[in-house]
């Protein structure tokens, strides 16, 4: 479960190439479910439960691209 990966399909709407890095923006239009694996304490602390509106926070450098 720890190595579970989310695959989110979308369309590239912007590419900005810099010297070493490239910033790619992917537009996602079809509904998708993102799985988060967090520590158990966090879920209790924030009282996360079914039906809550939350934000999935992901560093841009942790988003890989598959074509």
């Amino acid at each position: 479960m720890i190595s579970a990966r989310n695959k989110v399909e979308g369309e590239i709407v912007d590419i900005e190439k810099r010297k070493l890095l490239a910033k790619v923006k992917i537009r996602v239009t079809s509904p998708v479910i993102i799985t988060a694996v967090i520590v158990k304490e966090a879920i209790k602390e924030m009282n996360i439960k079914r039906g809550d509106v939350v934000e999935a926070v992901i560093k841009a450098t942790e988003v890989l691209i598959e074509k």
Binding site: E9, K23, V32, I48, V53, A56, V63, E66
Partner: protein, 190 residues
């Protein structure tokens, strides 16, 4: 301390070369070798660096003793007379090696883009809104399934090399891959 002040705190580093556990060349030694190379003479080099000839000589001898081979070679005569000094092949190699790593680290520390590449600093974060449809607790971890609101734009920062290898271009259909353990969950109060 204010955030603005923290920005003024700069990382610094020191590089030195070791051989069999002994220091061979540090910043000062590299400067000495470089100056000998540029000036072609130990006395001119010592003068330029404001160190005594004796000290510079002792320094070189210590390096040579530790390496077990000559680092510099002296020669007599020459057009202007008085002889001079040049680096041996080992001396040249040591200086090159030192400079290569020094420049690399200097470049790495001065280049915020590289820090980002190594994940040391990330300004860019995706915040994707959604609804929790399921939570599940294991021994240590909890799994949270979030149905995200679409349309949404996800930003990915990858190396330029990777982007070119994949030949990414506008309009391409791609998959954003995110390890579940890299997804943090934020819940606004209320």
């Amino acid at each position: 301390m204010e955030k603005k002040e923290i920005e003024k705190v700069k990382p610094k580093f020191k590089v030195w070369l070791e051989y069999k556990g002994n220091t061979i060349l540090g910043k000062g030694g590299a400067k000495l070798l470089q100056t000998i190379r540029d000036r072609g003479s130990l006395s001119l080099a010592a003068k330029e660096l404001s160190i005594s000839y004796r000290y510079a000589w002792g320094y070189l001898k210590k390096m040579e003793k530790r390496m077990g081979v000559p680092i510099v070679s002296s020669f007599k005569g020459g057009a202007k007379g008085g002889g001079g000094m040049k680096l041996t092949e080992t001396g040249e190699n040591l200086l090159r090696k030192y400079k290569r790593f020094e420049e690399f680290l200097e470049f790495a520390l001065q280049n915020p883009e590289l820090w980002e590449a190594y994940g040391l600093r990330t300004k860019e974060k995706n915040r994707i809104r959604g609804e929790v449809i399921k939570t599940e607790e294991n021994d240590n971890a909890a799994v949270v399934k979030i149905k995200i609101e679409v349309p949404v734009t996800i930003t990915s920062i990858i190396t330029r090399e990777a982007a070119e290898e994949l030949n990414l271009k506008m309009g391409d259909r791609v998959k954003a891959i995110i390890k579940a353990t890299e997804v943090m969950v934020d819940k606004k109060d209320g």
